[in-house]
Symmetry: none
Subunit: 400 residues, 2 copies
């Protein structure tokens, strides 16, 4: 069904805004109320009664999504059709520039003994500073393999990203990380003929890294995981006929937006900065993706009160966004991150859509419990775009 927007797209001058409060959905704390139910949110409560609400299933019932699938869904793509490799996601997360000829791998610095046996898969979680020193050495000493440019980028602690440029072929290659110690790293094996080049480069890279690091004390080898290229995804322009832009503060979400062809503009560091960016670029786009990160961060920290605080902060700023008079806007999350779980969860996410033709919505506020009764019902995240486009007059009638 998510094919529909493709064949029905219709031009209009309308403006649409998707606001993701990352990890918005929560679970009841001791007093029986979730983060969103605890937060004082007069503006979202007013909009919930005036417009429409429901619940969004990010990917599938009972399935906990990562950030990649969670966002692809609300962007209007079935996340199960576009798996995103871990190498790509890690690269996007640390702001590595990737294009469709870039191969990425999420790597670990590790320790091997004199027989090549893994003794620590994470090299004792070396400090990030040590990681940066080693990556600098690797970048100086290994600049190309089999005539392809290669690059190393530091992540946190033992993690780094390995990049191969200018690969026209595929990257279907297994991890060299055996996920265990006291055995040797695996050899990279191509899963099809068109991945032979990448497998060859990965195996050479592993040897070269071992040579360069052989006298290092804290990490002397590397394991490769999630070797991958960008998934092949239609842009939002192609799929929905809209000019889209990402306003976010964290590289990961800018990277995910690039996957679907969004433009990226500077979102600054705070929600206020992001609203400034929204105002500044209002005339240039049809669809604005506005990402609020800290709801998820505090959820992951298990900090119920601070997650409540971010929700309240956003709600207080909402009138500034309303003043821009978007024809349609949606407020939801890419998944739930209940503070009591300290992690992403499988629960559906509250959803609010303001559009010009709302049904009467028999709810009292914007919350997990009230959204259950909302006029939109419980829908899959991938269908949110349909409602946004419909409200924005950007979908033709299907059939005569």
């Amino acid at each position: 069904m998510s094919i529909f927007p493709d064949i029905l797209k219709q031009e209009a001058k309308t403006k649409m805004l998707l606001i993701i409060l990352d990890g918005l959905g929560g679970l009841p704390s001791k007093d029986g109320r979730t983060e969103l139910e605890t937060a004082n949110t007069p503006n979202m409560d007013r909009l919930a009664k005036q417009f429409e609400t429901g619940m969004s299933i990010p990917v599938e019932i009972g399935i906990t999504p990562g950030s990649g699938p969670g966002h692809l869904g609300v962007f209007g793509y079935d996340p199960t059709n576009y798996p995103i490799g871990r190498g790509i996601l890690e690269a996007l997360g640390i702001d590595v520039d990737v294009d469709n000829k870039t191969v990425t791998a999420r790597c670990n610095f590790c320790n091997i003994d004199s027989n090549g046996i893994i003794t620590d898969r994470r090299a004792g979680r070396i400090p990030t500073e040590e990681n940066m020193r080693l990556v600098k050495i690797l970048n100086e000493q290994i600049k190309s393999i089999n005539n392809k440019t290669v690059e190393f980028y530091s992540g946190i602690e033992h993690r780094f990203v390995f990049v191969i440029r200018d690969i026209e072929t595929n990257a279907d290659v297994n991890d060299t990380d055996p996920q265990d110690i006291n055995i040797k790293p695996l050899k990279a094996i191509s899963q099809n003929d068109s991945s032979n080049d990448v497998a060859g480069i990965i195996n050479k890279a592993a040897n070269l890294i071992g040579n360069v690091l052989k006298d290092e004390k804290r990490a002397n080898y590397a394991l490769f995981r999630g070797i991958s290229k960008l998934p092949n995804i239609e842009t939002m322009k192609e799929r929905f006929g809209i000019r889209s832009v990402c306003i976010a503060t964290y590289p990961m979400y800018k990277g995910l937006s690039k996957l679907v062809g969004m433009n990226i503009v500077d979102g600054g560091k705070t929600i206020e900065d992001e609203i400034d960016a929204l105002e500044k670029h209002f005339d240039n786009y049809d669809y604005f993706f506005f990402h609020v990160k800290k709801t998820d961060s505090y959820g992951e920290d298990g900090d119920f009160d601070k997650k409540v605080g971010v929700i309240e902060q956003f709600d207080a700023l909402l009138p500034k966004i309303e003043a821009l008079n978007f024809d349609v806007f949606a407020i939801t999350g890419d998944h739930s991150t209940p503070a009591i779980m300290k992690t992403h969860s499988f629960h559906p996410v509250p959803l609010l859509i303001k559009h010009p033709y709302p049904r009467r919505n028999p709810v009292n506020d914007f919350s997990e419990t009230e959204c259950l009764k909302g006029s939109l019902g419980t829908i899959y995240a991938k269908h949110i775009i349909n409602l946004m486009l419909a409200g924005a007059g950007r979908l033709k009638k299907y059939g005569a």
Copy 2:
């Protein structure tokens, strides 16, 4: 989408319990309340408020499922992908041992005249005792056909099961029952080359049965229907990574459980016996399927009060089950069997899931009407397993 549990399965030590009150869903009687709403169920009502409820669509909206599809759904398999032949279902129902080389057919004793024309498709619904006498004769006189062992098993009245052993090929063969009288039985015709052997055996069997029974007064021929082998289904171990066991009192449900690779243990004759079995085998499995039959039986009988009674009997025993401290349990039905309809129906079925991370559930009790408002919403039965596995910590996050 139901592919998810396959690729996300994760090991855990948790225990899960699926309780099927067969045919649980009902319809209002004269006073406007269903069987479940009439029953006094303090324990399920308490659990409904404390944990999560919703409605389960067994197969598809408006579709009335048989026992086979109804159970495959709650076991986590899309029933439309695994059609179960009537021969197989009948064989499972009378406890015939079948494996993946067994061909089964559900047969009718019938009457034909001297020209081979059918005069009664059910031989006047001969008594079961007569059926057993005839089946004994057939087993004595027809032991193999084309070098394959064949067997006959009595069912109720005119019904029996015909079994062919050791068939490696397929069984795509039409019914010989023309579903009408005053015409000849149909010839069995194979629908593809790999079913030629079975078609040949069926045609010979029909002739042999006719010869053996030619002087019998009450039934002198047989019609073959639902010629089938076991569907090829992944086991629950393969699909979800769990050790599963069936605790049931009726052969049909043990047979259906075998289809998905469950172990079968002795469930005794009563719900109390089944609880004993649950306690006895608690340590040996991850997933327990607990089947209560009589809700359906009394529904089929049109006995509203007795169906209410079974629900109350189960509810009173529920604390014994709760005392086992399953990490996750679900209570639902495989379909509705409203007493006023005296048959399976297409209505969704109340669903209750106890798991460690419940949303607040704004309901007053466990009933058709209240479950409509439940925090789980209305979902397909095949997704119940996702929620059970998620609550049991047995599903990895999808994507990073």
